[in-house]
Amino acid sequence: MAETIDQIFVLAKDRFLDLLGIVLPDWIILLVRILISIAVLLAVAPVVMMYMTWLERKVLGRIQNRYGPNRVGIFGLLQPIADGIKMLTKEDIVPKNADQVIHFLAPVVIVIAPLLVLAVLPFGRNMIAADLNVGLLFFLGVSTFGVIALFMGSWASRNKYSLLGGMRAFAQMISYEIPMVLSVVPVILVTSSLSTAAIVEAQLGWKWFIFTPWGGFAALVFFLCGVAEVNRTPFDLPEAESEIVAGFHTEYSGMKFALFYMAEFISTFAISGLAVTLFLGGWDGPAFLPSWFWFGLKTFILILIMIWFRGTLPRFRVDQLMGFAWKVFLPFTLANIFIAALWALLPYPKNFIADTIGITVILTLLQIFNRKETPKKRKYLYAN
């Protein structure tokens, strides 16, 4: 029974294809098999995005001692739909001097990347749209592609704020791409595979990488870089609303604006999903609940943490952001590859000790070399 529920989506798909197989030839079945996966992803992703906006507003509201949306439907559950209708019916304003074609293309292009990367995420046991043997590489490669669309939008808007936002976005994404990839390298090193499904399988049975010394820190770095990668607080400089109004999407309105948001939220989901896959054991979990539930739960928790960040943290400044990537994350992730190699090489108790020492040393060194930038505690005088 548990097995059936676990595989329910896979079984449903197979049953459906079996039924079709009675009347249709094999090659069409193959095509339909692919199309079903695509259709499901394309249908689920916007819904996920819609309810993530709802979740974000709700959680932020609660963090700020208020209710959040609660007027449209019970618990405000229909709020995203109301928002969607509003977005669709809003006037679409294009600046007169904007580059019309690129201004139109940017929001269309920007949603492609986050939708594509969903294909390689294992949502549950056997639930992966395309089990590429270079799945991880595909994910990292394609997700970078979003920044081009972002820059298209900012450049074509002919707005100074947009331009600043686009510049920031480019600098930030490229800088954070490096520590992000480097923090993934230990995982590849240990599992010796680039396939996301294989990485999850290597972690089955509570051998999640986050529980290893190198994995814990790599997960932290990966997650923070991921936050930076999807432009969320405290790394939301490209759209810093208090500084450059709305950054790259200043000049977008209506549905185009919504598409930018959709891209952001789907990438948030995808990055959380990848973090779960790489470090939190993917869909692994106690067997009494189905595997896709565990994947969903872990992703949900990571998304909650991102929303929690947004509700608490102020934003970095552009030079500090860069400094963080190049002076903290990059050296750490480089050292972390070595530490992970030690883990893979040595037998159990020894590797644990070696890793702990290695991490302590690198953290201390980072602390020492960055002490100039670390803020100090202040003293205040009182006059009578």
Partner: protein
Amino acid sequence: MFGWGVLKGMLVTLWNFLLTYLWPKKGIFTVQYPEKKLPLAQRYRNFPFLVYDGTPHMIRCVACKICESECPPKCIYIIPEKDAEGRVQKKPAVFDIDYAICMNCGLCEEVCPFDSIFMDHEYEISKYNRAEDLMVRKEALLKPWEYFAKIRPHDFERIEAKRAAKSAKAKPVAPAEKPSQKPDAGPTSPQQGSVPKNG
């Protein structure tokens, strides 16, 4: 250690997040407005209204025009009533307040020597038209003295006591004052000072 302060801050927000579920009364300070409304303080002041005793014909205002001249943004417009012979009566024929201009300062209430204009508690007065709808005429401004007793019981008691004392004093001498012809004439009796002392 870098990051400790961030964690402490995040715990504060987490605590506030949980508080809204565990103890909503303390955690959430939003009021669900159209369904629930906050109680207004008795002294709450919004736009002015005119008081009548008993029936709407018994307007307490004597059209002395003090409020009109004291009003800082000049939003009050008064024309006293005239009888057939053209003599000015102690009653306003026209009493308009432009709510679009009024800035709710409450000075009219303070300077009125006849306790006839007071600040209302009504605040849901959105209108579609700025020019016509917000120019409020005498008929719309009039509200019974009992209404005032309901919204501001403390001030009601104080003013009733003052009025009782005044009428007891005034009765043996003269039942009514002369209609004030000069609009700028201030109040004549020192007891009519309208600065409330206790509320």
